[in-house]
């Protein structure tokens, strides 16, 4: 197992390098000159100025020189400067340092809630299979997953900001001036409730469904019956016998869930104006700010690779029949 982990960690670097290379190639050959996209709308630059700017940013050099230069700088821990001008000179490292903790807090909070709500709900649904409890849990989580974030967010804002205060005022005479929950005010601010809950509502399905399927897989196995027959408490049967054998698919899904929290957070961060990491990547993509795109892609990719490594190691931990060679 140690050798397996070590080999995967060594393999991490080629994968990361390949991702860097693909992203860089996409960026280099994609249509849309970053400088023209930045200036084109407002200014008409003549060729000479453009050529000087290209030279300044090193964009006139051949592909391999630019790529090599980028990798060399990256190896020294320098992610470069954003192409975007006029927004205070912040290096990409500083931008990431400011934006990443925000996205990480939201993602981890949502992930914890997913586990602590999803696994119990899935287990409950499985143990009451084909009853109204099962139907409500499954239907509810499917409904949450079916509505796109960009539809759910306006809907929830309309309800909480316009309809609910109106309703309270007319029925109970309470004046409740609810503000639109925009911006980032720390994890424990009330304005964080809505973004995180939207992430949880839309992401709950995978956890519930896989837990339910996994528990159903083992619920009628002989060893579960034996555990009951020898008089174990139901909680112990569930936690020690059933869950441990049915969580393998749930575990594998956590890798997907993690990346889902990051990509889902793109819309959340856009709509709620949260200055996070995912939003930073998409803003960069829209203005073709390649150094920033490269940095965000690379950091996002590293996270996903690490999550997958943990998942693979977890496979062996939960299912000893899987051997690593």
């Amino acid at each position: 197992m140690f050798v397996f982990a070590l080999r995967r960690i060594i393999l991490f670097f080629p994968v990361l390098f390949a991702i860097l290379f693909i992203t860089f190639t996409f960026g280099f050959f994609a249509p849309g000159d970053p400088l023209e996209i930045q200036f084109g709308e407002d200014y008409v630059l003549d060729e000479e100025v453009l050529a000087r700017l290209r030279n300044l940013y090193g964009l006139d050099r051949p592909f391999w020189v630019q790529f090599g230069d980028y990798v060399w700088k990256l190896a020294q821990g320098d992610m470069g400067e954003p192409l975007r001008v006029g927004r205070g000179k912040q290096s990409i490292g500083e931008m990431v340092w400011a934006a990443f903790p925000i996205s990480a807090q939201i993602g981890v909070a949502a992930g914890f809630l997913l586990i602590f709500i999803g696994i119990p709900l899935g287990t409950l649904a499985a143990s009451k299979q084909n009853t109204w409890i099962d139907y409500i849990i499954v239907t509810g989580s499917i409904m949450g997953n079916s509505i796109h974030v960009i539809v759910l967010a306006p809907l929830m804002m309309v309800i909480s900001v316009i309809w609910l205060p109106d309703f309270l005022e007319q029925i109970f005479g309470i004046t409740w001036n609810n503000k639109i929950p925009i911006g980032w005010h720390g994890l424990f601010s009330t304005r964080t409730i809505m973004p995180v809950s939207i992430l949880v509502i839309t992401g709950l399905l995978t956890t519930v469904r896989l837990t339910r399927a996994g528990v159903l897989e083992v619920i009628r196995q002989n060893y579960v019956r034996t555990a009951r027959a020898k008089g174990l408490l139901e909680t112990r049967v569930v936690s020690k016998h059933m869950l441990k054998n049915s969580l393998t698919p749930v575990l594998t899904s956590m890798g997907v869930t993690l990346s889902g929290l990051v990509t889902g957070a793109v819309f959340i961060e856009r709509i709620f104006a949260i200055p996070g990491f995912a939003g930073m990547g998409i803003n960069a993509f829209q203005s073709r700010d390649y150094p920033v795109i490269l940095a965000t892609t690379m950091i996002g990719a590293s996270l996903i690779i690490l999550a997958n490594l943990l998942v693979d190691l977890g496979y062996g931990f939960l299912d000893p029949r899987v051997r690593y060679e």
Partner: protein, 336 residues
């Protein structure tokens, strides 16, 4: 007497036990499941709309609604009336350039079904093959395939799809232009067709790696089981083991995976539209309709909600159907 009993046990005297196929069995169980039937119902409606929506649509989905019959000043001050509320003529109102929303929704169903079907077929075919081969052969093949999967998997979905559709557009438009010049087929020049190709390609490339991983994981744990060892001991060729024994056994989680990925594909298509990279405006797609209406959600919330809820119902139907299929294909779960 004893002779008779002996005769009866001869092979020919037994009535042949009717073989029940996996799929027929599963279909029976599926029909018994109420929620699955509901999902099937929703999915059939969406597919029906995709096939006949263009015939059934009350208006042309590209036509802008011109108020020539009435005095423009009394309606909205202009000849074209955008953001009309629902009326007898336009059941669900008109969008921001005055096109009939209901007709556009009906046309959008075709885009949605096309996107889902083609992406699934392409993506799953690649994913299943890669995953099965990788999980069964292991060793160097496994390493190579899994590294490719890792690379694709590690890319954030949305960003990868966005990259592909942004950078593939120019070459594909050029290629189609050349092809048109050579063959003279007008259809190749349609922007809608080009949009479709780019979108499907991007979505399929995002989609296959998850399946490959899932199948590989299933097969890794299946191949340790006794019936596979027996096959190997009997000398059954590798590809028959994969096709006849490993893939059918790995299919239940795959079906859940496919069903949730149909929903995911429809949602991802809308997400691409959010960044202006999906189906481009003259063509009708639910994602594009949501996103053109999104900036004005406070003033015209129904324009976001109608395509949004229809998209939601479609995704919901596919998810329900998938859950039902999962229960139906996994006979062990049904016995109480």
């Amino acid at each position: 007497m004893s002779e008779q009993a002996f005769r009866a046990t001869k092979v020919e005297d037994f009535e042949e036990v009717k073989q029940r196929s996996l799929w027929l069995d599963a279909l029976e169980r599926l029909v018994r499941n109420k929620t699955a039937v509901f999902g099937l119902f929703v999915v059939s409606i969406i597919i029906f709309l995709a096939m006949f929506g263009s015939v059934l649509a009350p208006k042309d989905y590209l036509e802008t609604f011109m108020r020539t019959d009435r005095d423009p000043s009394t309606v909205c001050g202009r000849a074209v009336c955008p953001h009309e509320g629902p009326s007898g003529e336009y059941w669900l109102g008109t969008d921001k350039v005055g096109r009939d929303i209901l007709s556009r929704l009906m046309h959008g169903a075709r885009t949605a079904v096309f996107a889902a079907a083609i992406t699934i077929i392409l993506g799953q075919a690649i994913g299943i093959t890669m995953g099965a081969v990788s999980g069964y052969l292991r060793g160097i093949v496994d390493d190579v395939i899994m590294r490719i999967v890792d690379i694709l998997y590690a890319f954030p979905d949305l960003l990868f799809a966005a990259f592909l559709s942004a950078s593939l557009r120019t070459p594909i438009v050029e290629f189609m232009g050349n092809l048109k010049a050579r063959t003279g087929w007008e259809i190749l020049d349609e922007t809608i067709i080009i949009d479709y190709i780019i979108l499907f390609g991007a979505l399929a490339m995002v989609n296959w790696s998850g399946t490959a991983r899932l199948i590989r994981g299933q097969i890794l744990s299946l191949r340790e089981q006794d019936f596979i060892r027996a096959e190997i001991a009997l000398g059954v060729p590798t590809w028959i083991i994969i096709r006849k024994h490993l893939v059918p056994n790995a299919i239940a989680p795959l079906v859940v995976g496919i069903s949730s990925s149909v929903g995911g594909i429809l949602l991802l298509e809308s997400s691409l539209s959010f960044f202006g990279l999906g189906i481009q405006p003259p063509a009708a797609s639910w994602g594009d309709m949501i996103n053109t209406a999104l900036p004005q959600w406070r003033l015209y919330p129904w324009e976001v909600l109608m395509p949004g809820l229809l998209l939601g119902i479609a995704v919901f139907g596919f998810n329900y159907l998938g859950d039902g299929l999962n229960d139906a294909l996994n006979p062990r779960q049904i016995r109480r």
